[in-house]
Subunit: 765 residues, 2 copies
């Protein structure tokens, strides 16, 4: 049975524990080296609360600049762990934003759900399963021989003990729903409080309008003005047209690249003034005449500047560059909330209004997509996603087969001498299957992100949520179901269609307990080693060091070299969901899996909390808009666990359980419906009560604010920033575009200038 | 093969044609009798454009009052047919309302879709099917022997001729979608024009608000005022609280009943003054002491009057009788449209707003349902509908089996001598199966209507739409699928679950052509005889005559005796959909079915047009709000036809057709999605543009209107009408409650006082 013994799980656990420990040790060591300070504390640099250690050190020894010579600090290498936990929730939201806070809450939710369940299930089910299989005299052998002995497989068909499993599934479902409800409630009300406590922001007054009718005479601008002055006469303030600057943005990107090369060659020349660097002229510098590289790049940049100026002129002057999309601003939050939620035009596909994303969240590129093509894009991408979903299974199945050593030896007998060596065998068995899957899953989010972009969502947050949703379906169908079904027999996939529908759950149900070992190794690789490598940040560290070596001259360059990362929701959210799915499915099937999941949650919470405090810097603030997706996906996992248990028990001749188990998904579905109607609008719509409250409060505190000036340039397209400024934005994403972009930012206080929210009463309650 | 020969279809057709003709003749004869005038021209009485013929006749002979003595009129008995077609669309809308107009358009749509298809399919497919089966020398025999020879069953498996069927299915789908799109477009824009042309109406300014939070101090009324004055400060006018008067309404109903009996006994006494009528006191007049009936009823009415007064007092004084629902009015259509479409409260389950139905459309009883129970009711009713859906199949299957003569003879051999007689046999075969099904289907709508009421919709139109939706699912699953599957083998139903999913379409597909004969007889019974009986109006005629004999004293009584009916959308809409379904499914399978459907559509159009002009009187005006349902159901029918053809062709070894046929439902689904987003909002929401236009126009024409007075009592609960008035409403539903209900209707022009809309430009375009 391949990996089916506890001993081999032990070996795998050892491998992963060692890897994890090495990673952590490496991190602890690298973290305190001054040279890496920007890599491991990038968030603090962004906030301006930490500057290059070189300046701080009083002994300005050249070695001390790069290596930590303070021996004391080497004895406290693990003190980052308590430090990460020390920051209070309130401070955390102020420090890192609500998105990061909500993200961490998912792990807490996982611990809340699974901690009591793990204890209950281990105490009740393991004895039940073990007792039933064999007698106590063989106990010792059992524990160390086969993991299946601890699972439901060990219980005979038709046994009365299956009632225990059934009862536990009910308890599990009720507890999970209870936790989900409480959490949704808490996140929703915290979100409202967070939004209420926020300072004035441009997006509160702004609505994104799409698909104006075609105008024959007059400009788009006039048409928008006329329309909203007629239909919102008392509240309309103005609008910001959107320009199609995609080509311009491409040129800017190209210029940036050229400039980097120029810097590199200048530095090279500086260090070695005797020899002017040269390059070949054509084909990536491989062929052609050899020329002076500094001069060549300077020339090319000059040429590009001309092109840029021409393109800018074109965009500004040509009325065709204005796309039929506008950011319409109103004089109050109330009016904006109204406009975003109502149908404007007789023709319901015209003058579509959306709640505007905040300026940093806008994905400008997609605003230029014509509205007509959006529907077609959606259909095409659905078909593409469907195809990808089912063709991606093939390589995964292949890897699963390879990773099974016996199969490998069978098809490639020449590898036997290598594979049979004990160390290699353990390594392969403990590490390879999970790793292979992980690599496949790493490429996927990028593909899915591209698909979401093609689909045409116009905010970064929506793009990420969409990609995360798709990724979740991949994880459920390809990783989870794929591993379960293909692992035993890949051919069964095809046969599923030709099986009676009543047979499918039991087909899948039977193979679930057999796959417990595989998922345990997967959890160890993905939940332990990968998380540890996340904190080590090897790739950014290497890139930063290289840049430091070849490009950095000034402090500003150094800041440029280390772009603070952000939580990749597209990757992380669905991965967490896989743990929830595994936990819910295996809780009553193979309870031994749960402790591994618990450890993953706790460890990941620790690591991500540290990273969020010290490293990550979110590009936008969506105030936890992803939570409804998180909730829905957990409910889906719960439903899957019900159906699979139903299938499993149907093979155990427990017919009495069928109606009881059929009731569970129905009740869960009702629960979901209720939660959706109760909480989801808080994440999708702005209530008039809320908007009015804020309006009234603001009128009382700042009666004389000139909103028109305040809002005038909030949604200015990046085209209006000079090229230099555009570059700045790319470097320091953290600060809003408007901060620097707005030519009037000196006069009017910018909507994003105050990163501190008055957030005192929220988390004390 | 039971009914499988054209000869027997002929017999059935003859039976039904004769029945239909008898009905029509009876109608033509009865219609011109003065005594029945109110039965066949009730709409005109409602409009006040016709009065009792007794008055009109100059020769006041007592016979002439009841029997038409004008012999000339007997020669023009069928002139109602051209008359029914003469009224123009514009006049029809003015005369009968937009709902009736939209209802007739469904039949027109049916003719539009199926007329070209029938011709094409008959010309192309019948030769193809016949040619392929046998040779031309047997042609005569074929035509008269078996209907299967004309269907796709006659084409060999693997034949190249199946391409023709495939191509025709594509053409059919495209043509149907095209017609559906055009019709949806036309209905949607006509609806907008109709609404724009309507005079000021209370519902344009009103929003129904549900589920206020629980109030500890203060009244509900104050709470509503405070909330809307805060959140809609510039537009809120006032609100109308809703009282729970369900008990009161029951008492009123009881009193009405007693009064009827009193009238009956008074009349009896009048005609026979010697003998005072008596009744026994207890148990429906069967037991107990014998008393004078007039005195007894008078006494009971008096008692009831006391109870009524007490109950009225209670409702008005007791704050608990006020339910947490209110009709909130605004100063403009714009503000009402806004309030109805936006989320009011932080908690999305509080202060829910809906576009208010017009006052006559409100189903007051359901407004008293507590909001919390609505969700539970919905779930329970869904479960109940599901159960009903699958248990209703059993009696239908039983009837189907009985209706098959051979089965009948087999199980009840003693019936053989009777059944074998030719006349009885033909009658049974031609009439019985359809009739049995029809009777079953007649009880159902009542059950479904009760279920919708329990579900808690608060307008009559919504109730009818919901019941019609449920009925449609019944028709698809029980009538259509039930007939197809159970007819061949009832046991297959159970086995469907245990069959591979890829097998189900082909199992069903195979039995489709075999069922063509059954459906032809069904269409003849339901589409010909039933429609003819609809125009005859036997039941109302009998009831009216009885009432005339026993109750009527004055003209007002006579008006009371004939309550004008309305189109029962719950029954009729899904029945029409069955024809569409049959037509779409059988078009390429058994084309011989199509002419029967065409005749039904044409005949039903004629009959319903006549009835709408002369008899029906709609209780409310929803401006065609049922059209999205009609459209969706047709698309569902189209999808079913695709899937069934797929199954059928898969048994014909036409593997090449599978991908082509799979594309069809996908494309149809995309079409539906598009139509939904393009047209449905016009039926569900009020656009701000529209509302603003009307507001501006009104301000220009009537600048000084006092809206507050106008709206004050529009949504007054019936409790406020005196008992006499309440009765009046029951009699003359046609005129709005507000007309008489509002105590101020003399001062302010009532919202419903002008039945004529300025509707001149709409249908000329």
């Amino acid at each position: 049975m391949g990996l089916d013994s506890l001993k081999e799980i032990g070996a795998s656990a050892l491998t992963n524990l060692v890897t994890t420990f090495i990673f952590l040790l490496a991190f602890a060591f690298l973290r305190i080296q001054p040279a890496n300070d920007r890599v491991y504390f990038s968030k603090w640099y962004v906030l301006g609360q930490r500057s290059s250690p070189a300046k701080n050190r009083t002994k300005n020894s050249s070695v001390g600049k790069f290596v930590n010579l303070n021996l004391c600090s080497y004895f406290t290498v693990f003190n980052w762990m308590p430090k990460a936990l020390m920051m209070r929730e309130k401070e955390l939201v102020e420090h890192a934003g609500f998105d990061s806070f909500a993200f961490l809450r998912i792990y807490i939710l996982g611990l809340k759900i699974f901690f009591p369940i793990t204890i209950l299930v281990l105490l009740v089910l393991i004895p039940v399963n073990v007792y039933h299989g064999t007698l106590l005299k063989l106990q010792k052998e059992i524990v160390f021989s086969n993991i299946d002995k601890l699972s439901i497989s060990n219980v005979d068909a038709g046994s009365k003990l299956l009632w225990v499993h059934l009862l536990l599934e009910y308890l599990l479902t009720m507890w999970t729903c209870f936790c989900l409800y409480k959490e949704y409630d808490s996140i929703a009300s915290l979100r409202l409080q967070f939004q209420a406590s926020q300072h004035r922001r441009a997006d509160q007054f702004t609505v994104l309008v799409r698909n104006f009718p075609h105008i024959t005479g007059g400009t788009i601008s006039k048409c928008v003005d006329d329309y909203f002055q007629r239909n919102h006469p008392d509240h309309y303030l103005g609008h910001q047209a959107v320009y199609n600057a995609n080509k311009f943005a491409k040129l800017v990107k190209k210029k940036k690249k050229l400039k980097n090369w120029l810097d590199y060659y200048c530095l090279k020349f500086e260090r070695n003034p005797d020899k002017r660097p040269t390059i070949k002229k054509r084909c990536l510098g491989l062929f052609g005449e050899r020329v002076d590289s500094i001069e060549s790049y300077k020339e090319r940049i000059k040429e590009l500047d001309k092109k840029l100026a021409a393109e800018k002129e074109m965009v500004l002057k040509n009325p065709k560059a204005v796309v039929p999309v506008a950011f319409v601003t109103f004089d109050s939050r109330w009016a904006a909330a109204i406009c975003a939620q109502t149908q404007q035009s007789r023709n319901p596909t015209r003058w579509l209004t959306y709640w505007a994303p905040e300026p940093r969240d806008v994905y400008w590129k997609n605003l230029a997509i014509p509205f007509v093509s959006l529907g077609i894009r959606k259909i095409l991408m659905s078909v593409a996603a469907f195809a990808l979903l089912f063709f991606y299974m093939i390589p995964i199945a292949f890897v699963q087969t390879i990773a099974n050593l016996e199969t490998l030896e069978k098809y490639a007998p020449f590898l036997r001498p290598v594979v049979e060596q004990k160390v290699i065998k353990s390594f392969l068995q403990g590490f390879l299957p999970g790793l292979a899957l992980k690599i496949f899953m790493c490429i996927l989010p990028k593909v899915l992100m591209i698909m979401s972009k093609v689909e045409g969502h116009f905010s970064l947050s929506a793009l990420e949520r969409r990609a995360a949703d798709l990724y979740f379906y991949f994880i459920v169908i390809d990783v989870f179901m794929g591993s379960i079904v293909t692992g035993t027999a890949f051919e069964q996939l095809k046969s599923l269609l030709h099986q009676p529908p009543s047979q499918i759950p039991s087909t899948v149900g039977v193979s679930i307990p057999m796959k417990a070992t595989f998922f345990i190794t997967y959890i160890m690789v993905d939940g332990w080693s990968s998380i540890a490598s996340e904190i080590l940040r090897i790739t950014p560290l290497v890139i930063y060091s290289l840049k430091n070596m070849f490009l950095v001259k000034t402090d500003r360059d150094r800041a440029k070299a280390m772009k603070p990362p952000r939580i990749k929701l597209t990757d992380t959210l669905p991965t967490i969901q896989l743990y929830f799915l595994l936990g819910l499915v295996y809780a009553v099937v193979s309870p031994i899996l749960l402790p591994f999941i618990l450890v993953s949650f706790a460890f990941a919470y620790l690591v991500y909390r540290h990273q969020i405090i010290n490293v990550y810097n979110q590009k936008y603030e969506s105030a936890g808009a992803f939570w409804p997706h998180v909730h829905t996906q957990m409910v889906i996992s719960l439903l899957i666990s019900h159906i699979l248990l139903l299938g499993l028990l149907s093979t155990k001749k427990a017919a009495y359980s069928t109606p009881l188990l059929l009731a569970l998904p129905l009740l869960t579905f009702c629960f979901h419906k209720y939660c959706k109607s109760r909480f989801e609008p808080a994440f999708r719509k702005q209530s008039l009560e809320e908007a009015m409250d804020k309006d009234i409060k603001e009128k009382a505190t700042e009666p004389s604010i000139n909103l028109k000036d305040y809002l005038a340039d909030a949604y200015l397209h990046p085209i209006f920033h000079s090229i230099e400024e555009t570059e700045m934005i790319d470097i320091e994403d953290d600060q809003s575009q408007t901060d620097k972009g707005s030519p009037r930012s000196n006069i009017v206080s910018s909507p994003y200038s105050s990163p501190k929210y008055s957030f005192d009463n929220v988390f004390d309650a």
